[in-house]
């Protein structure tokens, strides 16, 4: 049994090992994510970025190792407990928007809030605000099929941010976007994280996008390779106030 993780880490993992049907994806990764920071996980395709995000968020159970969130263990939680944790504290943006096709943009954004028991009015107001912030307020009453991919992706970002989760996991969120839209979406993600003290874990293979991160770790073949040296607290605070 290990000691509890350091207090200033909102998310903390030690020695996690995960394989998909025998193919090793993560081979012993230890990582800590501080509260309110933007952490970029870089690496080529197949390096284990998505698996790492899945393990940290409790979407995938780890084979070995520990994952802690806010000083409570995630790796020992039951399936139901992990679902509840994801619903109440985590938000996701994937490389595909994965919207519910029969719901309008606003309903899609309001859905996580409704699912966690928020009132109808509060959920729809928050949804409208986030759609406004992401420049898709004009399409609030449209269905995903009527929109273009970049608009759908913005709606997916709004959906992840609207419940103000403690940690937002973004797995290659800019994959379907053009260069300008990429910058805008990531700027919004990063600034939302800073203004609302959200923690953002961003997986990307685009080296240009690392500039939005406070700290970067690099993965290769399931192992950490890159600069993992943590930024001093003062520096992180400086970037947070930027």
């Amino acid at each position: 049994m290990s000691a509890a993780p350091p207090d200033n880490d909102v998310l903390w993992a030690r020695g996690i090992v995960k394989s998909h049907h025998g193919t090793p994806a993560l081979r012993g990764i230890s990582i800590g994510v501080r509260e309110g920071e933007v952490l970029a996980v870089t690496g080529p395709r197949g390096s284990g970025k998505s698996t790492l995000l899945g393990c940290l968020s409790g979407l995938l159970p780890v084979d070995e190792g520990e994952v802690w969130f806010n000083s409570s263990p995630v790796h020992t939680l039951s399936r139901l407990g992990r679902e509840r944790l994801r619903r109440d504290r985590f938000g996701f943006v994937g490389s595909e928007p994965h919207l519910v096709p029969e719901l309008t943009a606003r309903e899609n954004v309001a859905l996580p809030l409704l699912l966690s028991g928020a009132g109808h009015k509060a959920a729809y107001t928050a949804a409208a605000e986030w759609l406004e912030r992401l420049d898709v307020a004009d399409h609030a009453k449209r269905r995903p099929a009527e929109l273009i991919q970049s608009q759908r992706q913005r709606i997916a970002v709004a959906r992840a941010l609207a419940p103000l989760p403690a940690v937002v996991f973004a797995d290659d969120p800019t994959a379907p976007l053009h260069r300008e839209a990429k910058d805008q979406v990531l700027r919004i993600l990063a600034s939302a994280a800073r203004s609302h003290q959200l923690t953002l874990v961003l997986a990307t293979h685009d080296p240009e996008l690392v500039k939005y991160a406070d700290r970067t770790v690099a993965l290769l073949d399931g192992r950490l390779t890159g600069p993992v040296a943590p930024v001093p607290r003062g520096a992180a605070a400086l970037t947070a106030g930027r």
Binding site: F92, L99, V100, P101, E102, L114, R143, A145
Partner: protein, 382 residues
Amino acid sequence: MLYFRLARGYRPADLGRWLLTATAAALVAALLLRALGRALGEPAVSSLPRLLWCLPPLAAVGWFAAVVGRAVPAARPERIDGLTAAGAGPVRIRLLVAGEIALACTLGSAVALLLFLVLRNDIADPSLAADLGMGSPLPAAAPVTLLVLVPLVAGVSAACAVPLTDPLPTGREHTAPTGFGPLRIALPTGLLLTGTALELYGLRPGASVDGRPVALPGGLGDTGVAALVGWSLAALGLALLTAPLLALAGRLLALGRPTPLRLLAGRGLTAEARRIGTPLAVLGLAAAAVLAAFRYWIGRPGSSETLTSVEGLLVVACALAALLVRAAEVRSARRDVSSTLLRLGAAPRLLFGAAALRVLAAGTVLLLTGGLTAVLAAGALG
């Protein structure tokens, strides 16, 4: 050989579809052979009406095959992807799916033929002798020609129904429009109202004095022209109204300030109204007609005809199976949506509840349209 290779990868759902197709084909083949047997036994009597009676079940099998063909790409996207990657174009995929279905129908027909030949070979009860054409020689080409019809009809309708696949996976998010135009609602409503009025006019007190000129086949007695035409119009209107009614039920479910359960159930029902509406309408129509016929026969003992009732039940079974296949297609097409919702933290119980609510609403619509059709049919039969 490829078909056998593909068949080795069947899951229970695929196998169920395959067996359902084969069974329906076997039953239709049995009906066709019975008509042939009769024609052999009594060459003097025209066999055309009996062959015409085989058309509704043949049409039912053809339609069922179309529904099955449509469901294959949605149920097994990885198989279609694999075939596409291996270089099979849309035409070849269509042919492959149609071939699978035609193969099932061929097997069903062959089983029926085998049974027919075995029964003819003096095993059958003498009471069946007339139906099997026992004692008269059987020209080999006749049953083969007749039975080629079943796989042919099924294969062609399945080939026409297989949707063209989109080579790019991003196209999957595309959905059909969910609304119904004003004409799409006004036309069936008009048909329903006109039909009902016409039928009531045909059944007005005193009309029966004029006599009932149209004789119905299958021991169903006779009825008036106005009542028959009125019922046909009203039934068509009700069938066409099923999909808009489903969409309306979905809207009602999600009315006001819906909870996630009502929102997901209602919007899902509205979105799938077109896909579910057609098989539901066909089932409602077939079940209503068969129910009314059975009610008529029960009221007048001795008037029933076995052939007609078997045919009716076959059509209803095909319609029910088609509805189930379509429901499975919708379910597999929504796999992505379900996993998205689960990822958002929706409880599996919520998804199950939404599905149950949708089934309940669809059942209510079926009871409404089917029940009304049955009442009108019972009225027309007298």
